[in-house]
Symmetry: D2
Subunit: 139 residues, 4 copies
């Protein structure tokens, strides 16, 4: 799937990304990158630190873009399982998440990702299985 | 930690829970239960279905309450890792998450949880390690 | 699948179980139990303690029996992913692993298990997804 | 830790590696590689395919070498949790596992690894947390 700038603007305009402060920056050839600038309401219980679930949401979504960036248009995907580890507290105004498809087999996609703070410190790393579904199956 | 109704009201009033539509119902003796009534803005990309990251956030938070419900007051905890599986699409207005501490050893806590829809269908199951930290260490 | 004592003897006679010292004790209605009496050659690097991979092998195999104990005869299964946690060092001559199917959906099976030492201490806990396959697909 | 050829020979001579047919090839600067040539007795239930638990044992052990290859001599480590995914059936006579430390923080080490068959096909991928322990604590 080739994603144009106009399409990114459209995708990034969804209410979930707005709520958590996330934007997809690139998605191509099985790789995707996003940035998170979490608003105060999702930085709880530690002020200035996005909740682990918000970092998870960013990673899960960014992984899905890595999956979708590879196959033909008209497909979607769903998370089967995701294991996330938090090596360090997540401090700072912005977090970059990089994800990539490691392996693809039939309808399954194996994906990995890392989220880093502004200094490059690792704050989350994940490993997941996605199932590829047809767009019609979404409805 | 014994948690009174007044304390629950206070805890549940935080901005994160408000954003995702979550409320803790009970937390006692290493077990905690919460309910999620996700607002539309976190039900994306599938209308009426909370994003997997929102279900994760509910489970992670509810697990933390299971951890905190056991030891003495004045402690907090942080997620080291959490593996979540999504057996089925999450449809419906309300999701109940039940979590429990399976094992505790020194500063580590091993926790499990399940989230179910209104008909009792399993929509997420998780397994996690938490690290117990002192309240002062939060600051 | 109903499994007779004679069948258990046959299943337990396989070379892998012999190598690691494992025997399946029961498998019925989506639940299975096994015992591990690890020989010295798999207790490394810590004498008297089975390697974590041996505990994993016991759990993975016992989970497979839980999966197979439920559907009709003539099926097999394969592990898609398994997350294992080790709450404590595994000491002692025998370890009992109990597993159960938590959810089944189409060709996927979600399973959990725990392994305990002789005193009932938790030494491993796991969570997995299995894919159900037809026996013919094995060949 | 710098590991000489003579030391490798010694390490590889342990009974567990002999049982599963594993040899560590290199371990340096937080990276380790091993090869598995599984004997028939661990290739069950599918002839010619090592059991998933044997691939796990190889990965877990190789990750431990990645962990140990970095810090000062006299330390050891223990697996806290490991999530393994099996993208494809493991066929063939030899499997190469590559592992690396992704992040290190205090006493914890976050590690990843992949196992591939002779043609380079991915048969297992893992993500783990290790705890670093002092050698004395082993005894």
């Amino acid at each position: 799937m080739i994603i144009s700038s106009a399409q990114f603007e459209k995708f990034n305009a969804n209410p979930l990304y707005h709520t958590i402060g996330m934007q997809v920056i690139s998605a191509e050839d099985g790789r995707a990158v996003s940035q998170l600038r979490p608003p105060d309401n999702v930085c709880w219980p530690f002020p200035g630190q996005p909740h682990g679930g918000i970092l998870f949401t960013q990673m899960d979504s960014t992984m899905a873009w890595a999956v979708l960036s590879a196959p033909g248009e008209g497909t979607n995907c769903t998370t089967v399982n995701l294991e996330i580890q938090y090596p360090a507290p997540a401090r700072g105004p912005v977090f970059t998440c990089e994800t990539r498809v490691v392996h693809r087999t039939g309808r399954s996609c194996f994906v990995r990702g890392e989220s880093r703070d502004e200094e490059g410190g690792l704050v989350a790393m994940g490993q997941a299985t996605f199932r590829i579904i047809r767009a019609e199956a979404m409805l």
